[in-house]
C-alpha cells in the first residue's frame, strides 16, 4: 500500500499536489477560515468593549467601574433592568404556559386561533408594543382621552407591559414544543388513578416540563434585559441599562462608560449561558415510547378551563388591539386629534427609503448569513478537529448576546483602520449576519444529523473528490437549512434595532431606526406606517417561505425570537 501511494504521489505535478492537499484538508481550511470570521466579527467586538471598559488615559484602570458603582443612577439602572427581566420572565413563562397548554390540551376549536394569536408578535418588531401603548395610553392616547384615565404609560409599568407582550411568543414556542413531546399517556395515567386536571398539571405536567420551563425562563430573561426599543421609547425618566448605553455613546460620546454599561448588560447573559449549560446537563426525562400517540382532546375541568381561558383571552385580545391601533394610526392624520384618513404616512419618502435600505441590508445579511451558517454547521458536524464544540458555542452565542453590546463593540472595534467599517451598509449587514447565525447553524446541524454520512462516503467511493461531493451531494442536502437561515436572518435583520441604532449613518437610515426616532419624537403616524410596512415585508417573506416549503418539500423550521 505504502509503495503504491508514494508512486502515485511521485506522478503528480505541482499543481495537482496543491489540489490534492486542498481536497484532503478542505474541511480544516474551511473551519479555520470560519473560525477567523467568528473571531473577528463576534469575539473581537465583545473583547474590544471589555478592553475599553478598563482603559484609562494611562492604561489599565478601574475608575470607570468605580464610577458606575458610586453613582446611584447607574446602580438604579442595573437594578431596574434586572427587576424588569425577572418580572417579564415570570409573566411571559406563565402566560406562555397557559397558551401552550391550551393549544395542545385544550378544546380543538380553540387550539388554532390561540396559537395564531400567541405567534402574531413574531411578525412585528418588539417595540411595536411601545408604539401601541403610546397610541392607547400616551398623553393624547385613545384611552387616556376617551376615558380620562390618568395613567402614566412612560415608566417602569409601561416597559413591563410592552416587553411582556413582545416576548410571550418566545416562551410559548419553547413550551409548546416541550408539551408536544410529553407523552400524553403520562397525564392519562394520572387521570386514570383518580387525579383531577389541576392535580395532574401540578404533579405531572409541570414537573415534567421543569427543564423546558427553566430554559424558556432563561431565554426570556436574556432577551428582555437586552431589548432596547421598548425601554428607550417608554422608559421615560426610569433608567435601564440598554437605553442608558445608547445615551452614553450617542448622546455623550462617553465610550468608557458606555462599555462599562455594556459589560454590566452582558454579565447576566454570560452567567445564564453557563447556568443553562450546567443546570440542564442530562436533565431530560426519558420515557419508553410505544406506538405513536395522538393526544385526544379531553374535557377540561372548569377549574382549569376558566382561568386558562381568561388569561389567554385577555392577553390575546391585548395583542390583537395593539396591532389594530398601529394599523389604524398608519392611516390617520393624527390619531385622536385629527381623525382623518390620510396616505401621507404610508407614502412618506423618508420612511420608504428606510424600508428600502432595510430590505437591502437584510438581503445581504441573509445571503451571507445563510452561506456562513450552512458552512459552519457542516464543519461542526462533519469536521474532526479540536475546538469543534467551541466553534458551535460561539456561533450559537450571538443569539443570546445583547444587541446593544454588539452594537457598541462594532462601533469601538471597527472605527479605525485597518478595519474601518463604520459609516456604510456593510457594517450593518455584517452585524446582522453574526448576531443571527444561530438559527441557520442549528437548522444545518439538525439537517446533517438526519443524513447518514455514508451518503457522502458513497460518493467518495464512486470516485468523486471532496469538492465534487461537497458540491453535488452536501450542498443540495443542506439547501433547506440555508433557506431557513436566510429567511430567519432576513426577518430578524428587518426588525432588529438594538445593535443597528449605534451603527447607522446619515444616508443609510434603516426602518427600525426610523420607527424608533419617530416614536421617540411622538410622530406616531410615521412610526406606525413604517412598522406596518415592515410587517408586510416580514409577512411576504413568510409567504415565500411557505410556498418554498410546499413546492420543494423542504422541511424548514421557523424559530422565534428577535431583539
Amino acid at each position: 500500500m505504502a509503495a503504491t501511494a508514494t508512486l502515485y504521489h511521485a506522478q503528480l505535478t505541482g499543481w495537482e499536489r496543491i489540489k490534492e492537499f486542498f481536497n484532503a484538508k478542505f474541511i480544516n481550511i474551511l473551519a479555520l477560515s470560519l473560525f477567523l470570521l467568528l473571531a473577528v466579527f463576534l469575539l473581537f467586538p465583545i473583547f474590544a468593549v471589555l478592553v475599553k471598559s478598563f482603559q484609562g488615559p494611562e492604561g489599565f484602570t478601574l475608575a470607570h467601574y468605580e464610577n458606575f458603582f458610586t453613582h446611584a443612577y447607574f446602580f438604579q439602572s442595573l437594578y431596574n433592568t434586572l427587576l424588569l427581566g425577572l418580572i417579564n420572565t415570570i409573566i411571559c413563562v406563565g402566560v406562555g404556559f397557559c397558551f401552550a397548554y391550551m393549544t395542545t390540551r385544550g378544546p380543538m376549536a380553540l387550539r388554532k386561533p390561540l396559537k395564531i394569536v400567541a405567534m402574531i408578535p413574531l411578525i412585528a418588531p418588539p417595540y411595536l408594543f411601545a408604539l401601541s401603548l403610546i397610541i392607547l395610553f400616551g398623553r393624547v392616547g385613545l384611552i387616556t382621552k376617551t376615558f380620562g384615565v390618568n395613567w402614566e404609560i412612560y415608566g417602569f409599568d409601561g416597559v413591563v407591559i410592552a416587553q411582556t407582550l413582545a416576548f410571550i411568543p418566545l416562551a410559548f414556542l419553547m413550551l409548546e414544543n416541550n408539551i408536544k413531546s410529553l407523552n400524553p399517556n403520562l397525564e392519562e395515567s394520572a387521570y386514570d388513578m383518580g387525579a383531577t386536571e389541576g392535580t395532574i398539571i401540578r404533579t405531572i405536567t409541570l414537573p415534567l416540563l421543569a427543564p423546558g420551563l427553566l430554559k424558556a425562563a432563561l431565554l426570556v430573561f436574556v432577551m428582555t434585559i437586552a431589548e432596547f426599543g421598548n425601554a428607550a421609547v417608554l422608559g421615560g425618566r426610569v433608567p435601564f441599562l440598554a437605553p442608558d448605553t445608547y445615551t452614553m455613546i450617542v448622546g455623550e460620546a462617553d465610550f468608557s462608560m458606555g462599555s462599562v454599561l455594556s459589560v454590566m448588560l452582558i454579565m447576566p447573559c454570560i452567567m445564564i449561558f453557563i447556568a443553562h449549560n450546567y443546570l440542564l446537563k442530562g436533565k431530560k426525562f426519558t420515557t419508553i415510547e410505544g406506538k405513536p400517540i395522538a393526544s385526544e382532546p379531553r374535557k377540561m375541568s372548569p377549574f382549569v378551563k376558566v382561568p386558562f381561558i381568561t388569561v389567554t383571552f385577555l392577553f390575546g385580545f391585548t395583542i390583537f388591539i395593539c396591532f389594530a391601533v398601529v394599523i389604524l394610526a398608519a392611516f390617520v392624520n393624527i390619531l385622536g386629534v385629527r381623525n382623518e384618513f390620510v396616505m401621507r404616512h404610508i407614502m412618506d419618502f423618508r420612511s420608504n427609503m428606510a424600508i428600502w435600505n432595510s430590505i437591502r441590508v437584510s438581503f445581504i445579511a441573509a445571503l451571507v448569513g445563510g452561506i456562513i451558517g450552512t458552512l459552519l454547521s457542516y464543519v461542526i458536524v462533519r469536521g474532526k478537529f479540536v475546538g469543534r464544540n467551541l466553534i458551535e458555542m460561539i456561533s450559537l452565542s450571538g443569539f443570546a448576546l445583547p444587541g446593544t453590546v454588539i452594537g457598541v463593540g462594532y462601533l469601538i472595534a471597527f472605527a479605525s483602520p485597518p478595519m474601518k467599517l463604520t459609516g456604510g451598509i456593510m457594517i450593518l449587514a455584517l452585524n446582522c449576519v453574526f448576531r443571527f447565525l444561530a438559527v441557520g447553524v442549528e437548522a444545518g446541524i439538525t439537517k446533517l444529523h438526519q443524513i447518514n454520512i455514508e451518503i457522502e462516503e458513497a460518493s467518495w467511493d464512486m470516485g468523486a473528490t471532496f469538492f465534487t461531493t461537497f458540491r453535488r451531494i452536501v450542498l443540495p442536502i443542506m439547501f433547506p437549512a440555508f433557506i431557513a437561515g436566510f429567511i430567519y436572518t432576513f426577518m430578524t435583520a428587518m426588525v432588529s434595532l438594538s445593535a443597528i441604532v449605534f451603527l447607522v449613518s446619515p444616508g443609510y437610515e434603516l426602518a427600525a431606526v426610523t420607527i424608533f426616532d419617530a416614536a421617540a419624537y411622538g410622530k406616531i403616524g410615521l412610526a406606525s406606517a413604517t412598522t406596518l410596512k415592515m410587517i408586510m415585508v416580514v409577512i411576504l417573506c413568510m409567504i415565500v417561505l411557505n410556498l418554498l416549503t410546499k413546492f420543494t418539500n423542504l422541511d424548514i423550521e421557523r424559530k422565534g425570537g428577535a431583539a
Binding site: 399517556n185 394520572a190 386514570d192 415534567l208 419508553i288
Partner: protein, 367 residues
Amino acid sequence: MGTNEQPTLILKDIHKSFGKNKVLNGISIEVNKGELVTFVGPSGCGKTTLLRIIGGFTEHDSGEVILDGRSIGHLPPNLRDTRICFQNYALFPHLTVGENLAYGLKVKKWDKKKIRERVDELLTLVQLEGFKDRMIDKMSGGQQQRVAFARALAFSPKVLLLDEPISNLDANLRVLMRDEIRRLQTELSITTVFVTHDQYEAMAISDKIVVLSDGYIQQVGSPIEIYDHPVNEFIASFVGYVNFLPAKIDSIIKETDAAVVSTEYGKLEIDIEQTEFAPGTEVLLVIRPETLKIAPSNGTVTTQNVVQGTLRRYIYSGALAKCHVVLGNDKEVIVDIQDPRDHVPLRENEKVDVTVSRNVHVLKKRA
C-alpha cells in the same frame, strides 16, 4: 367463576367514528368476574379504541358501558373503577418506583402509613422489593413493566385494562411476563381486558378471545374454539397457518355423523358436527398443518383419506419440519412434522402421500 352472576363488564352496541372513519360498528361484549378477555386483531381493527372507551379516555358515539350493573359511559377516567396499563407503561419519570406506586393513593388522600404498607405489598407482589427508591429510568424494561402492572393494581380495580403491555419487551422476556401476568391475574382473580395484536399471546393468556377486524367482532370464544372452530376464513387464517381445501359434500353418513366429500385431488371421509351441510353443498375444508401426516409414496393410493402430491420444499427447524407439498398442478399445502428426527426420511421433488385426518373443520363456502 359464577356463570349465574351478572357479568362485571358489559359493552352494549358500542359505535365510534373518528370523522368519517368508522372505527367501531356496534360492539357488544360481556366480561365475567375474574375472567381475562383478550381483544385481538390486526392493527387498525379498533381494539385499542375499545379499551380507551372502557377506560374513559375516548368518548363513544353510542352504546353503553356497564360496570357492575352501573352505566359508566359518561364518567371521566378519574371516576371509574377501571385501571389502565399503557403500552409504554407511562411511568412518571420524575418520581421513584415507590412514588409511582403511591401516586393514585396519595391523590385519593390515603393515610401515609396505609400508603407505605400498600406500596410494600405491591412491590412484594411483583417481586421488586428493594427497588422502592429507584428512579424509573434506572429500571430495565421488564422491571418497568412490573412497576406499571403493580401501579395499576394499587386500588384493586374492578377491571384491569392492559394495552399491549408486553409488546415492548424482547421475545424471551415477553413469554416470561405473559405467564407472570396470567399467574397474578388468576391468583388475585382480577377481571382483565387485554389488548394485543399477537394471536399466540392471546391464545396463551386468555379465558376468552374477542377477534376484531375493521371495527366488527368476528368471533368470541375460548382459545380452543377460536383455533378449532373458526367461524370464517379470516379467523381460521388469523391464528396460525391453515390450509384451505375447496370441496363438495357428496353424501352424509348418518350413523357415524360423517360426510364424504370430493375434492379435486380425491374423495375424503370426514367427521361433521354441523347438520346444515346437505349433499351438494360447496364447502371449504380448514386443515391445520399439524393434523396432516406425510409419507413417501409407493405410487398407488390404497388407504382412505390419502391424497397424493409432490414434496416441493422441506424446511427443517429443529422441533418442527415444514413440508410444502404440491397437490395436482399448483395447490400448495403445508404439512408439519413434529419431532422430524424420528420421521421417515423424505426427499424433495419426490411423490408423497398426505393423510388427511377425519377431524377437520368445515366452513360453508361463501358465494
